[in-house]
């Protein structure tokens, strides 16, 4: 053993001493002199957690709005929009809670409602969707739908809901008992998109002639001879069909 040690050259021994001193030094500094807070990951993690936790809250949460706006919250609770939180449409409101003068940025109008309600083939079946180009263009959604309690807007079942003037004239005319749809072919879409989808009008003399020609067996209708009666003209060029009178 002693021979072995003697056989090691002097310079290697000195180098070994130097390396040993360096290693001891590093170990001492790392484990005994440095405070544990410098080397322990827990502490910088803790400071990160604290930094994250201290971040600003922007959205106030679903329940707090009802404390002041109880009537709206109560109305919304039973409707189709019950799962839609106030801030979904009205925008973040934490600053409004801290100072009521800061009004939340209201996102209204057609541009906003179509985020959810424009037709998209990827949307789940049954979700209420419209085609924004055809569905009452340029009309604000809230004129027909209340966003706090939205219901499918009542489409007029009777023509008189929109065509009241014609209806009131017709009630006192000989044609009172004839329904609008006897002469006008009304597509279902007309109720939803009244201007882009229009009902038809009768366009032949023979249509009126079904009742009014000489050979017709309707007893109460005045009869004419289609061959001789104003042959160059269509019926409604002289007779207003909603209030026809003898000329």
């Amino acid at each position: 053993m002693k021979d072995m040690l003697k056989r090691i050259p002097e310079q290697i021994k000195r180098l070994a001493v130097v390396i040993a001193v360096i290693i001891t030094g590093v170990v001492t500094v790392r484990y005994f002199i440095l405070p544990s807070s410098l080397t322990d990951g827990r502490f910088h993690r803790q400071s990160t957690v604290e930094r994250e936790t201290a971040k600003n809250i922007v959205f106030a949460g679903a329940t707090i709005c009802g404390n002041c706006h109880g009537d709206k919250a109560e109305k919304k609770k039973a409707g189709y929009h019950k799962t839609v939180n106030c801030e979904t449409c009205h925008g973040p409101a934490q600053s409004h809670i801290e100072n009521p003068a800061n009004k939340p940025a209201m996102s209204g109008g057609r541009d906003f409602c179509v985020f959810c309600h424009a037709y998209d083939q990827s949307r789940p079946t049954g979700f209420p969707q419209i085609n924004p180009v055809l569905h009452n263009p340029l009309k604000a959604c809230i004129t027909c739908h209340n966003p706090h309690d939205p219901v499918p807007s009542q489409t007029p079942r009777e023509c008189s809901a929109c065509h009241a003037q014609i209806a009131s004239i017709k009630t006192v005319s000989p044609h009172a008992l004839i329904g609008c749809t006897s002469c006008h072919n009304v597509p279902e879409k007309h109720k939803v998109s009244p201007r882009s989808v229009r009902p038809t009008k009768p366009d032949t003399r023979e249509f009126c002639g079904k009742c009014h020609r000489k050979e017709s067996d309707r007893k109460d209708a005045p009869k004419i001879d289609l061959a001789t009666h104003g042959e160059r003209f269509l019926c409604w060029e002289c007779h207003y069909p909603h209030r026809p009178e003898r000329m």
Partner: protein, 246 residues
């Protein structure tokens, strides 16, 4: 005081002091002052694909809450639109909030749906394993956070994330990602995206509480996670997930 009296008192004093100390400890612990203890929580999120309508409001809300840059290509959460054609081809596109014009309708579509995505807050996170400076870590309550002071912006974690959930913040030049709105959840609030979701397609909750909505969600739905073969053990649970979703 004689010896007998001393022993008598001592017999009474020590147990009494012990009981008193115990009571005092209890009294201090019980009110707790609403102090948040991360050891009592483990957060996760449920996503119901069948309810997502792809409105994009979650993306907007996340950007407002977390100061995510406005440019559309930086998101902490995003929504993908899957269109699966009859011939088996699949197109995936990240959506933007829809404007007045409806999206072009495609023909020969077999199935089509939206998939909201975000950081999966993995129990076994690859991003944490690769970080050379230990700047990203999982908290005790199961959220993976980034220490923006320690991050050197090397982008290893962005490469390592199999879900593409991380991005380099253009202002701080550090990695950034969804934190489940950590500043909100520790105060008992919901993450901003959950807060604004109009159809409740996102469900947030505490996996350690049997009464939480998330636990109920995982109980009543058939649950999938994304890329289960990678053993990342994600904590974002999907219901009605299509096999094509990656």
């Amino acid at each position: 005081m004689n010896r007998r009296k001393f022993i008598k008192n001592a017999i009474l004093f020590f147990p009494a002091a012990g009981v008193f100390r115990h009571l005092l400890k209890d009294a201090q612990a019980k009110p707790g002052n609403g102090k948040y203890d991360p050891a009592n929580h483990l957060y996760g999120m449920g996503v119901d694909i069948g309810k997502c309508i792809g409105c994009g409001l979650c993306i907007e809300a996340c950007k407002k809450e977390n100061n995510v840059p406005k440019e559309p290509f930086f998101c902490r959460t995003w929504v993908e639109r899957y269109v699966i054609k009859r011939d088996g081809s699949v197109t995936v596109a990240s959506i933007e909030a829809q404007k007045e014009k409806p999206r072009a309708e495609e023909t020969d579509v077999l199935r089509s749906f939206f998939v909201p995505k975000l950081c999966n807050q993995c129990d076994n996170p690859p991003c944490v394993q690769v970080c050379p400076v230990g700047a990203t870590f999982a908290t005790e309550d199961g959220v993976v956070l980034v220490d923006s002071k320690r991050c050197i912006g090397c982008r290893y974690c962005i490469q390592a994330c199999p879900y593409g959930a991380r991005y380099l913040h253009p202002e701080t030049r550090t990695a950034d990602k969804c934190t489940f709105c950590y500043h909100r959840i520790v105060k008992g609030m919901l993450p901003a995206c959950v807060e604004v979701c109009p159809t409740q397609a996102r469900i947030f909750g505490d996996l350690k509480s049997m009464a939480s909505r998330l636990v109920r969600f995982t109980r009543i739905n058939k649950i999938h996670v994304l890329k289960p073969h990678l053993n990342t053990e994600p904590k974002v649970y999907y219901a009605e997930l299509d096999g094509e979703v990656r």
